[in-house]
Symmetry: C2
Subunit: 273 residues, 2 copies
């Protein structure tokens, strides 16, 4: 690559970092790419770090030594995530969203990639320090949220199926009791999809009693895998006893049954103080 003016080099380094979150990029590779001294690259990175911090994009972490380099850790500041989730809560409280059977219609919001990406970045902030190998969810509505989170954490996604699909090869199935309907349901995961002893982050769009998340945890035992974290976008506030103890929720809904839903902040905002 031909030698670039500093400003252009900064533009290109910025986009490289943004597109490779949680990935270690060596200073040497930057220095070679731009035919510049490592000291100049370090100065550039310091400028980019300041800019990222000021714009609320996240941290640039530098690692010294031969295997060293720089890593972009996407982080949403508390104030930004707070105002973002509050605006979503406002949109979700509209009465026409309440469906027969006590459900809240959210598919229009969860159909907006920009919104999903922001939610994914908030989960990536919450779980930035967790050592995890894979993000897992169950079809259908948790899938985009899981991918958005995994994008910012630079992790693969594994999808648990409600049925046993022939296109997935041999699979492990379990039965579990849905917490809400008390009906027995099945979920299955392809043997190929998950390495034994993987460390898993579970992400889903909605949790009432937690039967589905509990089911995923049981399923993971068959793979001798461990759950390191659970993140749900929305939880129901009507449930006193969850089947899952340790989880993060971004929003919390109550009053659906009465026809007047009230949507507030989830426990994530208690945890980050």
């Amino acid at each position: 690559m031909k030698k670039l003016k500093r400003s252009l080099r900064l533009v290109e380094m910025t986009q490289t970092l943004l597109q490779h979150p949680h990935s270690l990029i060596s200073l040497t590779s930057f220095a070679e790419r731009y035919q510049s001294a490592k000291s100049s690259i370090s100065e550039d990175l310091a400028m980019i770090r300041d800019m990222f911090e000021e714009s609320g994009l996240g941290d640039l972490q530098t690692y010294a030594g031969a295997a060293g380099g720089v890593k972009y850790i996407p982080k949403v500041p508390r104030s930004a995530s707070l105002s973002f989730i509050k605006s979503i809560c406002g949109q979700l409280e509209k009465q026409e969203r309440i469906l027969p059977g006590g459900f809240l219609y959210m598919s229009d919001l969860l159909g907006q990639p920009a919104l999903l990406n922001e939610l994914g970045k908030i989960f990536a902030t919450a779980f930035a320090n967790l050592e995890v190998d894979v993000v897992m969810t169950v079809e259908t509505k948790g899938i985009p949220l899981a991918y958005a989170t995994a994008t910012y954490l630079n992790l693969p996604v594994v999808i648990v199926r409600r049925d046993n699909k022939v296109t997935e090869g041999s699979a492990v199935s379990i039965n579990y009791v849905s917490g809400s309907s008390k009906r027995i349901q099945t979920m299955s995961l392809s043997r190929r999809a998950l390495k034994e002893q993987s460390r898993v982050l579970i992400v889903d769009d909605y949790m009432r009693v937690g039967g589905t998340v509990r089911g995923m945890m049981d399923l993971l035992q068959e793979f001798r895998a461990t759950v390191r974290g659970v993140g749900v976008f929305m939880e129901s506030a009507e449930v006193a006893d969850h089947l899952v103890d340790d989880y993060i929720s971004l929003a919390r809904v109550s009053g659906i049954e009465t026809g007047r839903a009230s949507v507030g902040l989830g426990n994530y905002f208690d945890k980050i103080g």
Copy 2:
């Protein structure tokens, strides 16, 4: 916002543009944000445009006049998409991927967000000039690809369900004949999910005969919506008569039945010459 040095302004403008593809950003908003003359902002954008072009990120289109501004159009150059898809084809040809029943195991690859994002960007390149309101797919495996495509096109996503979910409210269901298994199947879409007369881009992971895509087209008639484009990641080369005429595929597989899959380029690469 305090006045920034030019290089920092470039870094911030770069990330703003990258994060808002296919969105018109007015020069005035940049000028006000950075307390700079529009002429300086125009110079900055010219530099960023050159960089985006050189790095194969896409175009910056500028629109003159009072309602004018700048729009980032993500585009993957032909050479980059060609070598990317070729490398995926190589990975997909491994014999252990062939599953009983004549399926190719692809879930590991489609579980990698970075790969999905690249595929989405290629579809966004192919359909950059299409006037579309929404990206549509059917659960389950097409979902991440649809979101990746929609992210780069700045469009919402609508998901067709295989069953009729109570959490989606009243829905329109149709029966269709699966092209491969010749069985009657059902798909449904919530009334709330799609405005009448929407212009739709259909995205899916795999197409054999095209029965599922054909089913989505029939379903869309119930919404008086029109299909403007169809993109599938992989098509089967074993089928002479597709139920869908006009579509783009990125890869094409043959020989699964014989136990030796051969995976080559899809028709997209014929179309772009």
